[in-house]
Symmetry: C2
Subunit: 643 residues, 2 copies
């Protein structure tokens, strides 16, 4: 953690100094806001947390519920989400309280006695070491708590505006990009709780982010509709405290028996578990009758499915019945995607508001959070004047495809989960599918295609372990100044900054400073250009008084061992002077580990490479060390000139 740069911090260093709109944040929802987030679920909450790092943006989040969520429905946390939590500073804490999925068991009818189930497989959850982060089960309410804490401890001090619901909105269509109409969205909201309950107000917003779930009113207000298959298979779901002689009651299981199927998910705390219990095909004329299935009936079916074992349910924390639907909107914003000349978007939808699917792959909350993370930093940059509004078009382009891929995957998985073993191509089909496809549900298959923020694959071969468009896969290095072992990617905070990782060529850093004319290595030449060339992104887009690393955090990784050089040998651009006292910051200078060389592990060229990573941790591009102009051009597409 980086603190004390403005003077001694005695209390929790996670609590940053308030700034901008965070200094005197109004209690009441103001009449005019830059960004209005509708709904405080996973997508809304991460967006608020991220925007709280842009205190110059007046962002608010309304929530129709009167207070904090008590029991959430989502609970599956893929490794990619834990990686995201790391950037928001709470991975360790949530790992400590969550259930860790280490193995998954598969149960099927005993060939000797088909009325009984037996365990037929028990693969590891992460058979191939996809991530250094675990696969967790944690109640959604706790995930929201952690994001809320990050938001209120961030400079913008955003807290949810509880007890206010979204009614409708209208966008002043002639308004795009005109400074005179910075807040062209008229949003009607209504108080649902407290003294003002029932009162309606009009709020003027610059942008609206709909995180208001499957029945999203923001979606309908912009005329988007969900399309997809009709629900046809029903599941009862229950979170219960129970005793059982089922040997895998604390292991994630796919259970297939003559009496139906169960997806069994142990939960945090040592006792609670969730069961998705197969309620069978829903007849077309069911008229939602299946939704009336009682908890007793769900428990009865569960007991029939797990025979010869049984459940003795002591307490039901939550239960519900749902039908699987796979539905998607054709775009995630309010632009006319058939008209490239249309206005830039003003309204966005995220999460269940634009894509729904089964709960079975444990994906919903995870994908929603990535939606929220994606749109939030883009809004942060645009509203604070760092980028043109064109950046906002990339949200729908990137996330709609991701959602479509998810739906395709989930259709296959949830269908398999509802198929009796004897109808599958072979007995281990489900288990094999689970192991083979693990990287997708772990959240690492998202790959953004070429755009203003993602380069072509022209220089991919300089670092093929960092696929362009995918999230930056961390590896360990050794910090030069203190010999600490550091997971490079874990140093990236969700602070809205871009990151440039400079992997050095073979030349060792040497004391004394070169300059562009007399540079003794490609790193020195790059450093000199970055520090002083008018085309350098560190020079061109910083505002008066901002630290060198305000917009882009630079890290350098040398091929030499850490004992072979010291920070004074390294070009000054990699050790910027920061904060109120202009203190030199030397913690971003690293050495490859002799036994765990990041250059080897990530296929980085020994001639060096520059890896550029966006604020939400996706690799934007890879460049040769000497491609100064190309780097400058890339950032010229991202950032707007200082006004």
């Amino acid at each position: 953690m980086h603190f004390h740069q403005n003077g001694y911090v005695s209390a929790d260093p996670r609590i940053e100094e308030a700034a901008g709109y965070g200094i005197d944040r109004s209690q009441d929802l103001p009449d005019e806001v830059d960004v209005l987030i509708v709904g405080s679920g996973p997508a809304g909450m991460i967006a608020a947390a991220q925007l709280s790092q842009y205190p110059e943006v007046n962002a608010r989040m309304i929530e129709k519920r009167g207070s904090r969520l008590v029991i959430g429905q989502a609970d599956g946390i893929q490794a990619r989400s834990v990686e995201t939590f790391q950037a928001f500073g709470f991975a360790e804490e949530i790992m400590r309280e969550g259930y860790h999925i280490t193995e998954m068991s598969f149960w099927n009818p005993d060939p000797e006695n088909p009325e009984h189930i037996i365990r037929t497989g028990r693969p590891k959850d992460d058979e191939h070491g996809i991530s250094e982060f675990p696969h967790l089960i944690v109640n959604q309410a706790r995930v929201l708590d952690y994001f809320a804490q990050f938001a209120v401890q961030s400079p913008g001090r955003i807290t949810p505006d509880y007890g206010i619901e979204f009614v409708d909105l209208a966008v002043d269509s002639g308004a795009a990009d005109s400074p005179a109409t910075d807040h062209p969205v008229s949003v009607t909201v209504r108080y649902t709780a407290g003294e003002r309950a029932g009162e309606e107000r009009i709020i003027r917003a610059g942008y609206v982010v709909g995180c208001d779930g499957a029945r999203s009113k923001v979606r309908s207000s912009i005329g988007r509709t969900m399309t997809g298959d009709q629900a046809n298979h029903a599941w009862g779901v229950m979170d219960v405290l129970a005793n059982s002689d089922f040997p895998d009651i604390r292991t994630k299981c796919a259970i297939s028996s003559k009496h139906g199927n169960i997806l069994h998910i142990p939960r945090e705390g040592g006792h609670l578990f969730r069961m998705y219990v197969d309620l069978g095909e829903v007849p077309e004329d069911d008229a939602r009758q299946v939704r009336q299935t009682s908890i007793d009936e769900i428990i009865r079916r569960a007991n029939a499915i797990i025979a010869p074992y049984s459940l003795d349910v002591k307490n039901v924390a939550w239960h519900s019945v749902y039908e699987v639907g796979h539905r998607l909107t054709d775009a995630f914003d309010d632009t006319d995607e058939t008209d490239p000349g249309s206005s830039c978007p003003r309204v966005f939808i995220t999460g269940d508001a634009c894509h729904t699917h089964s709960a079975k792959a444990g994906q919903g909350m995870n994908v929603s959070m990535q939606d929220g993370f994606n749109i939030a930093w883009k809004l942060g940059q645009v509203v604070s004047g760092r980028s043109s509004t064109e950046l906002l078009r990339t949200y729908s382009a990137e996330r709609q495809v991701t959602a479509k891929n998810l739906i395709d995957f989930d259709k296959e998985w949830s269908t398999l989960m509802a198929t009796p073993q004897e109808e599958l191509p072979d007995k281990a089909y489900l288990e094999d599918f689970y192991v083979k496809t693990a990287e997708f549900p772990a959240g690492f298959m998202t790959e953004y295609t070429e755009s203003m923020i993602t380069t072509s694959s022209k220089h991919q071969d300089l670092a093929d372990g960092f696929p362009i468009g995918r999230r930056f896969k961390s590896a360990r290095v050794q910090r030069s100044c203190d010999a600490n072992f550091i997971h490079l990617g874990h140093e990236a905070r969700a602070d809205g900054r871009w990151r440039m990782y400079v992997f050095a060529d073979r030349a060792a850093p040497t004391s004394g400073e070169g300059d562009a004319g007399t540079a003794r290595s490609k790193v020195e030449a790059l450093a000199s250009w970055l520090e002083s060339d008018p085309a350098s992104p560190l020079v061109a887009y910083r505002r008066e008084g901002e630290d060198l690393d305000a917009l882009i955090e630079l890290s350098v990784v040398y091929q030499q061992e850490h004992k072979e050089f010291s920070f004074p040998d390294v070009p000054t651009v990699f050790r910027p002077h920061v904060g109120a006292f202009g203190l030199e910051y030397v913690e971003k200078i690293y050495a490859a580990l002799p036994d765990e060389d990041i250059f080897a592990a990530r296929g980085i060229s020994r001639d060096g490479a520059v890896v550029v990573v966006r604020p939400d941790q996706y690799v934007s591009g890879i460049f040769p060390l000497e491609a100064h102009a190309e780097i400058g051009e890339f950032f010229a597409g991202v950032f707007a000139p200082v006004k």
Copy 2:
């Protein structure tokens, strides 16, 4: 973490349900308390945190300061302390914000140019892998914050009573052990802040714990005095924000130059560091003149010592001058240690109140915390009627020896640190001493001798990797129910419970339950005895309505791999029914890891062993699996019969 056993917990599971005195804790300090802690430093705060786990004990902590500590002087956190933080639930969080010491550099005069220093060595801080926990530097104020949070989230809900100072006390000497005089200590306190400032009150206390520092009034009130050598060497100490070209400015260093010595300690946050700057011998007639040394003079000397490098100090967070003194009281309580028939102690002293030494080995806060941890669980057990008052005699017996060992070590270390390199036996003498003795300053050399809570070494050979009297050294195992990889020792919470680790013999657990007559293994026979024999500690000392694991947490570790058995195969005593719903708790059943076998790593007999660990994590005893009577007798010496 274990929660939900009394029903669904929606909010932070670290916040336990209030109980006993925690339910309606009085704002004002009451007239009568069971335990009065004087001072909220590291010893007092850990004692409060631990006693908050005994909500039936009315414990309060007074602090003359009006509010939270802002800047503490201590900062060195040895690995044993991080291990302790783990038990209090905040190791991960504090590790994230602390500075990690990975290496230590040694600088000495350059033989070519003795006016300049050069680096002569750079050993690893933990060369021999003593602990899985790191060596940290964190401001004491933050350590206190974390303990305070644990205390207020524990059932007893203890918070510091700020603004009240200790004046004096008197013990009603005829009172020992009589129920009529449960509160025989009259304590005079005075308000130092707020409306009542200046007011004195008499508080009746059962016990008083003096954690009031080197000038302890509690110590003087019981007539104890510090004895030891006189101070004779002065050091200036400063916490500063500075720029420097000294290459090891972010590495811990011992610097010895022609101009004196520096112990250099980088601090958390990336910029701050502490320097202990040698101010030389103090003449006998100095009359505390050295204490007047200015910060400018300390900085000037530091610059002279580190030449050819220099410091440009931008901000001074704190500075002081002190003279090294090594002083100790002959006992840590108010008993007459020459009279074995004397009353049991009523007043205890901890930390700097009974032992002072240099700050150089980074030991003070650590040893003080272990003092507080030690006395607190003992008071918890005695006041809640679980143990006889005899238990309290073990505090002084255990901790006075530990403090004496520390002082002996520190004398040697601090003398070496103040000795010019040319006067040492050889050039690498200091560095070699540092590497060779690392286990002591890491906090792992404390070894309690035989007492009512520590057995003889009779059965030590059954598990020689768990030395009796030393802290339980964790190793990894695999949890049976969910295949999670678990560091066995990290599961031990500072909840006041004892722990019994049953390492099984070769026999695998088999389904169906044996009993003492027909037990199919020594583990089954032990389990049966533990569960139902009147002499079993689980039977003899539990009160009506308490869970089986209320006083002693049982864990069992089998030699078989986790896939070879399931929890229903394991004797029922290892899967107790707990909480409001009587839910079976199966998380304390473990398997040895194939590649990292705890039996091999800790030298545990393949015939099994029982390892008993006290609430503060020290090994109390080791027993053969069949030594039922011996186990019963040991606990009969610890616990009092249920009244």
